[in-house]
């Protein structure tokens, strides 16, 4: 069993640090390019913009109809429309990453070039992350537009806005890592998308379930429940309450799934 052999550095690779980053950058450029020459990036962007607009409108209607506790930011991120767009983004962004290369057989050309597996996994993941960040940017425009039209009469809490986008990013990164993992498992993009979607929804439902059950649990276990409940994280962060625990929870899960992806990609190098 030589599972850990990839860690072993051979002499003369110390000068490679610069080279290592260059290879990573080359791969990242290629991945980003692949997103923008295929229609996927634009479809996802359009989908998120439309649904973002609809959920913003829904939030406005809530505030119009009756006085309410939450701000415009809270209500926007609690609209069903928001969740609809949220769950579709990850499979669309990640299904192609490894599945396509497996299908085309290009993993073989890729891994017979002087490239390390973590560079490939890292570059693909980073490209998806960059794209994910880009697609949420236009939704910021909604808040700016409201502010501009009403001449600053509607209060838009900046802290809540920061919190919302922060948790959106943290949860997104975790879901993207799951998507990467799903894509590395199969050579069929549809299968990858289905696995990724299922895992995202299951994690979300686990959170909801934990919240429901959690009410009947003793006090000491409530905290544990709150760790997995995405709904609860969103609720806190959209109120501007930035808690480091969920951030660390998502960061560790991201690392876990990226490590798993790395292992799957390196599977061919296992001596069985």
């Amino acid at each position: 069993m030589c599972l850990w052999n990839w860690r072993r550095r051979t002499p003369g690779q110390g000068h490679l640090d610069n080279e290592t980053m260059r290879v990573f950058w080359t791969l990242l450029k290629k991945e980003l390019r692949a997103f923008f020459v295929s229609p996927v990036a634009y479809i996802v962007l359009a989908l998120v913009m439309v649904l973002g607009g609809v959920s913003f409108k829904a939030a406005l209607s809530v505030l119009e109809s009756a006085p309410s506790e939450g701000s415009i930011v809270t209500w926007t991120f609690h609209a069903q429309w928001f969740w609809l767009s949220y769950f579709f983004v990850f499979p669309l962004l990640t299904m192609r990453l490894f599945a396509e290369e497996k299908k085309l057989g290009t993993l073989e050309t890729l891994f017979t070039a002087p490239v390390r597996a973590w560079q490939v996994v890292g570059a693909k993941f980073t490209a998806a992350m960059v794209l994910y960040a880009v697609i949420w940017l236009p939704s910021l425009g909604n808040f700016w537009l409201l502010d501009w039209i009403t001449g600053g009469k509607v209060e838009i809490p900046v802290g809540a806005l920061r919190g919302s986008y922060l948790i959106l990013f943290a949860m997104g990164v975790f879901n993207l890592a799951m998507g990467c993992f799903a894509s590395s498992l199969t050579s069929n993009q549809i299968v990858a998308a289905v696995i990724s979607f299922t895992m995202s929804v299951l994690h979300f439902l686990l959170g909801v379930f934990a919240l429901v059950v959690g009410r009947r649990l003793p006090e000491s276990m409530v905290e544990a429940v709150h760790y997995v409940a995405s709904v609860e994280h969103i609720r806190l962060f959209t109120q501007g309450l930035i808690d480091t625990r969920p951030l660390i929870y998502y960061a560790s899960l991201t690392l876990l799934f990226l490590t798993l992806t790395h292992q799957v990609v390196e599977f061919r190098r296992w001596k069985l």
Partner: protein, 316 residues
């Protein structure tokens, strides 16, 4: 350049490569020959650093393919079977990307990309999207990619697969011109190809080396029989007399035409009976207008080796 010792690769209980040992010297062109599933691709994948052997070892230019995988990959230009490429990229863009991955920079990168595109005759299609190219062009783009970082060793898995005869000739000439700078290990089904290009042939079957020699020696040492064609003029059928010659196994009468009779003699591989045929003809007073020997081709060797192993079942 290549040193392989007791190389074994097993997939889930099936042995693809079984204790293979061979060496390839720098500057040689070596052909890897064998039926489908013989273990050619597996061996090539191991040598290119794509996957490790189950046991045994393989060295490329003094580097172990598993422990110093990156070093090996820098020295090897590998072209996989079916030439996998990114279909959404343009030819030049793809070669730029690959050159950058393999460590070429700046002016050298641009210069070398132009050079290999010229060498593999893909300059005219450099702006086209790879997915829309014909099989022949794709194959040549993959070859250009394998060459781009000036590797010491080229490993080509069926480089002429799916090409038309003109393109095959083009690839063959290209390979010959490359022998100055590179050691080449190639696999192919086209035996004619190997006879024309390679210095040495390694025949493998079911993961084991069956034969390893120059194409000429291989055909010579063959168990397969060769044929001697003779066309002579005589009043009567002389098949009996010809069959009596030493070394002749069987005589087939192919045609008769106005007193000219054509025979095909199946003879044992090591014997040359042309002279004795001529002597016999002179003694008997027959006139001869054709006498030539047809040597067994590698194809015959191939079929024979494969058949011998599978118990002579042609489609078993």
């Amino acid at each position: 350049m290549i040193h392989v010792h007791e190389l074994t690769k097993q997939y889930a209980g099936r042995t693809a490569v079984d204790r293979l040992s061979f060496d390839v010297e720098a500057g040689e062109i070596v052909g890897f020959l064998g039926p489908n599933g013989a273990g050619k691709s597996t061996t090539m994948r191991i040598l290119s650093g794509y996957m490790p052997p189950t046991s045994g070892m393989a060295m490329v230019d003094g580097h172990d393919v598993f422990r110093e995988s990156l070093e090996v990959r820098r020295k090897v230009g590998y072209m996989p079977e079916m030439a996998p490429l990114y279909h959404d990229m343009r030819v030049k863009e793809y070669l730029h990307f690959r050159a950058e991955l393999k460590g070429l920079r700046g002016r050298d990168l641009r210069h070398r990309t132009g050079e290999v595109m010229e060498l593999c005759a893909v300059t005219d299609v450099r702006r086209r999207v790879i997915g829309n190219l014909s099989k022949g062009f794709k194959q040549r783009v993959a070859l250009a990619d394998a060459l781009i970082h000036r590797p010491k060793l080229l490993i080509l898995d069926e480089p002429t697969n799916g090409l038309d005869p003109t393109q095959i000739r083009g690839v063959r000439e290209l390979l010959r011109s490359l022998r100055e700078q590179h050691t080449i290990l190639l696999s192919t089904h086209i035996l004619h190809e190997v006879e024309q290009t390679c210095d040495r042939v390694i025949m493998i079957h079911e993961g084991k080396i069956q034969a390893c020699d120059t194409p000429r020696n291989l055909t010579r040492s063959l168990r397969a029989t060769s044929l001697v064609h003779v066309e002579l003029q005589s009043a009567t059928d002389v098949a009996k007399e010809l069959e009596a010659l030493p070394g002749v196994r069987k005589v087939m009468t192919s045609k008769t035409d106005k007193g000219w009779r054509a025979y095909a003699l199946r003879v044992e591989s090591q014997t040359d009976i042309r002279e004795s045929v001529l002597d016999l003809a002179t003694a008997k007073g027959w006139r001869i207008r054709e006498l030539h020997r047809q040597l067994p081709t590698l194809e015959d060797v191939f079929v024979e080796l494969a058949a011998a192993d599978s118990g002579a079942r042609p489609f078993g």
